[in-house]
């Protein structure tokens, strides 16, 4: 009844790739088919995105709780933020999400040149985002609005404005680190795209990084109204 016959000692056949009958360099040895490998990667990235949502979730819950404790402080605090810069960054990230979708599409349809262009535009948007964020932070620091114990605003009518800025720096900072990480991964994608690694036969990394990038954008879509548009 047992289906697996265990070979007796010494009766081994040579193991090599030839024995498995595939030579596709993009197919790892422990997968039977490309489809299986692709689906596995998709499960992996969705689970990873779930962990990201839960990690940011802690910050969102903390924000909601502290805002309900100190609504005036949060309202007064948000007035210091540069709404125009925030809006600009929102637009920039939305554009980058669109070009990322196109990049995945062009990878899937083996159009190498367009893939490279779209990845480059996405990376450019990420750089603009970080540049604008730098200007914003500089503006806030120049007003003495540092995180935590270094915060100073003598005009703070509530005494708890610093908590709003704690969350502002934590949330945008963690999000900025994710943008930076995305930028690094996209640089790696760009290098491989230029090398011609991605075709309709194999484009998993582009697909997976695309999903990551959309999540980073979606988090910003929530952060923007939460922090900049309290009223």
């Amino acid at each position: 009844m047992s289906s697996i016959s265990t070979p007796v000692a010494g009766a081994h056949e040579p193991h090599g790739d030839a024995a498995h009958g595939h030579h596709d360099p993009n197919l790892q040895h422990h997968f039977a088919t490309k489809e299986q490998q692709f689906d596995t990667s998709k499960i992996g990235i969705w689970l990873f995105l779930a962990t990201e949502i839960l990690m940011f979730g802690g910050l969102f819950v903390g924000f909601a709780y502290m805002q309900s404790r100190f609504p005036e402080a949060f309202f007064e605090g948000h007035k210091h933020l540069l709404k125009v810069a925030g809006t600009l960054n929102t637009v920039v990230l939305l554009v980058s999400s669109f070009t990322m979708v196109l990049a995945v599409h062009y990878a899937r349809t083996s159009r190498r040149k367009k893939l490279i262009i779209c990845l480059a535009i996405t990376m450019f948007c990420a750089l603009i985002f970080l540049g604008v964020k730098y200007i914003e932070y500089t503006h806030e620091f120049s007003e003495g609005l540092y995180p935590g114990r270094y915060f100073s605003n003598p005009d703070d009518p509530t005494g708890h404005e610093f908590i709003f800025f704690s969350f502002y720096f934590m949330m945008t900072g963690l999000h900025g680190i994710h943008i930076l990480a995305g930028l690094c991964v996209m640089a790696w994608l760009l290098r491989r795209a230029i090398r011609g690694d991605f075709t309709s036969n194999y484009y998993t990394p582009v697909d997976v990084v695309g999903l990551y990038w959309h999540l980073v954008d979606i988090i910003w879509i929530y952060l923007f109204p939460l922090l900049y548009l309290i009223r």
């Binding site: 265990t6 070979p7 000692a9 422990h30 689906d39 499960i43 979730g57 802690g58 903390g62």
Partner: protein
């Protein structure tokens, strides 16, 4: 085929040296850079055992010092109060984060899960290796915390003390933060592996129950650990920058920290116990020579624990100032989560009923698990009852309950699994009689150590206290002697396991007569696990005699 029912082990029948994953490729570098799940499992195994030793030495120190309220033993002053706080904290932190959580999934699970599924490897082999090094990066930071003054907050890092004490909290928190990612990556890997790499013919309900347990564990690792990450990050930043989230003097709320912490750490205790249950579900049918009773109920109860386990965190804060409504709801949910655990226990007993039971070491540990976990689980129900909890909060009763579940449960499961798979992992049989003696010592020592703590707790002995009333001295002394018996059993285990490694390969491929796929390949296995892709044609616990169906 029918002879696996007796499956006698004849020493010396298969001593032929065979190709296997241990010996090829050779060299330290080939181990450090391996992506083979079996080698990574072994590297994890050695690491968690090392931390088990360190955490265990801290435990022995605590017990020795508590032998007498004067903390003077044979004329020597043992721990002073500050050192005592640090020692019990580091015992907790090391045991929870560096030993128990990775012990079964990352060490044993890594080794056997792909083989049980008939797979060549886990879904993401490089991520698996990365998880190992991330674990060590976290462990290294924890070591830095220990040598730069230690931590004295308890393993729960409650604010505001953790944000104001001048011990190395930030290093330790960052160590755990990083080690958490290794746990996430292991869980993520296991979920993808179970979804996509089952052998042809193996449906979800044809998997060994160990895989169901690993799946439930992995869900919790993936969904709960990120919350711990952000909690420890916020706590550390509160400490460094005073951002005002957890510190009441700045406008923050320490109870918010407790909510965040237990939102992870209650699922975390299920991350620790469900793998133990998963191993017991393998051992019981094999050593009872009987098909598992209630396969689907055991499988679903693992998932049930994982899901309900996310909704009970508030029972850690019954006396911390929650609303009355929240307290009642959490108490109800706590009763609810006991049900799937009880389902498992009854199914194991029903499996053993009328089986032809043999009492090799793995089975002794599995039976220890059932006995001790039942006590640990039921006392958990006591603590979930509001009026009783108010009396028992922060007493030794909680300490005893926790250790009956974590050591009486998870560690017994781990030791059972270690003995069960030792022939497969190393290709050697351990000394069976010594194994049984050690299992008996651990069982007796464990109860001697922790049962008195239930009584002391009921009488009001507060946990974590350095001083205690003279009336508790006899029970503390009894408990300390028990810890020596556990230590003797565990050192004996270490001794005969290491001694078995000096022998040539002498383990048969299937010494216990197991039906799951890891027993259908050679011991120790090939790097590729199987000669040919196995196909599942029968269930994992088919112990019917040939010809009956």
């Amino acid at each position: 085929m029918a002879d696996v029912i007796s499956a006698p082990f004849h020493a010396g029948t298969t001593p032929v040296e065979r190709r296997n994953y241990l010996t090829e490729p050779k060299g330290l570098w080939s181990w450090l850079t391996t992506v083979d799940h079996k080698r990574i499992g072994i590297m994890y195994l050695i690491s968690v055992m090392a931390f088990f030793l360190v955490g265990g030495i801290f435990a022995l120190l605590i017990r020795l010092s508590l032998f007498d309220p004067s903390h003077v033993i044979l004329g020597h002053k043992m721990l002073d109060a500050e050192t005592y706080n640090k020692v019990f904290t580091m015992h907790g932190v090391i045991m929870v984060f560096l030993f128990i959580i990775p012990s079964i999934p990352a060490a044993l699970g890594n080794f056997v899960l792909p083989m049980m599924l008939g797979a060549k490897d886990v879904a993401f082999p490089r991520l698996n290796l990365a998880s190992f090094y991330i674990y060590w990066a976290g462990a290294a930071l924890a070591m830095v915390a220990i040598v730069t003054g230690g931590v004295d907050t308890g393993w729960t890092f409650y604010t505001p003390y953790s944000t104001s004490t001048d011990t190395s909290v930030a290093w330790m928190a960052m160590g755990i933060f990083i080690a958490g990612f290794s746990s996430i990556f292991t869980g993520l890997n296991f979920i993808a592996t179970i979804h996509k790499l089952r052998a042809p013919g193996m449906g979800w309900f044809d998997m060994p129950l160990f895989c169901w347990g690993m799946y439930a564990t992995a869900l919790m690792q993936v969904l709960a650990t990120p919350v711990l990450a952000i909690t420890l990050l916020l706590m550390t930043i509160e400490r460094l920058f005073r951002i005002g989230i957890f510190d009441a003097s700045l406008g923050g709320d320490p109870v918010l920290f407790q909510h965040f912490f237990w939102f992870y750490s209650h699922p975390a205790v299920y991350i620790m116990i469900v793998p133990g249950m998963a191993i017991v579900s393998e051992i019981i049918p094999v050593f009872s020579r009987k098909t598992i009773f209630g396969y689907r109920m055991i499988a679903f109860s693992s998932i049930g624990i994982a899901l309900i386990g996310f909704l009970v965190w508030g029972h850690h804060m019954f006396v911390a100032g929650q609303s009355q409504t929240a307290v009642v709801v959490f108490s109800f949910l706590t009763f609810l989560v006991a049900i799937p655990s009880a389902i498992k226990v009854w199914n194991w007993l029903a499996t053993m009923y009328h089986g032809s039971i043999t009492l090799e070491t793995p089975m002794l540990y599995a039976i220890s698990f059932i006995l001790l976990f039942t006590i640990g689980g039921l006392t958990g129900v006591f603590l979930g009852a509001l009026s009783i909890d108010v009396h028992l909060t922060d007493t030794y009763f909680v300490v005893a309950h926790f250790h009956y579940v974590m050591m009486g449960g998870t560690v017994m499961g781990f030791l059972g699994g270690l003995h069960y798979w030792w022939p497969k992992i190393t290709g050697r049989m351990y000394h069976e009689r010594l194994g049984q003696i050690a299992a008996a010592l651990v069982f007796i020592g464990f109860n001697a150590t922790f049962f008195p703590q239930f009584i002391m707790g009921g009488q009001g002995m507060p946990r974590r206290y350095y001083n205690y009333l003279p009336q508790f001295q006899p029970m503390h002394a009894f408990s300390t002697v028990g810890s020596w018996i556990i230590g003797a059993g565990l050192f004996l285990t270490l001794g005969y396991l290491l001694a078995s490694l000096r022998k040539p390969y002498d383990a048969p491929d299937n010494p216990w007569g197991g039906k799951t796929m890891e027993w259908q390949t050679q011991s120790p296995p090939l790097t590729e696990n199987f000669e040919v892709q196995p196909v599942a044609t029968h269930g994992p616990y088919d112990y019917f005699p040939v010809g009956t169906h």
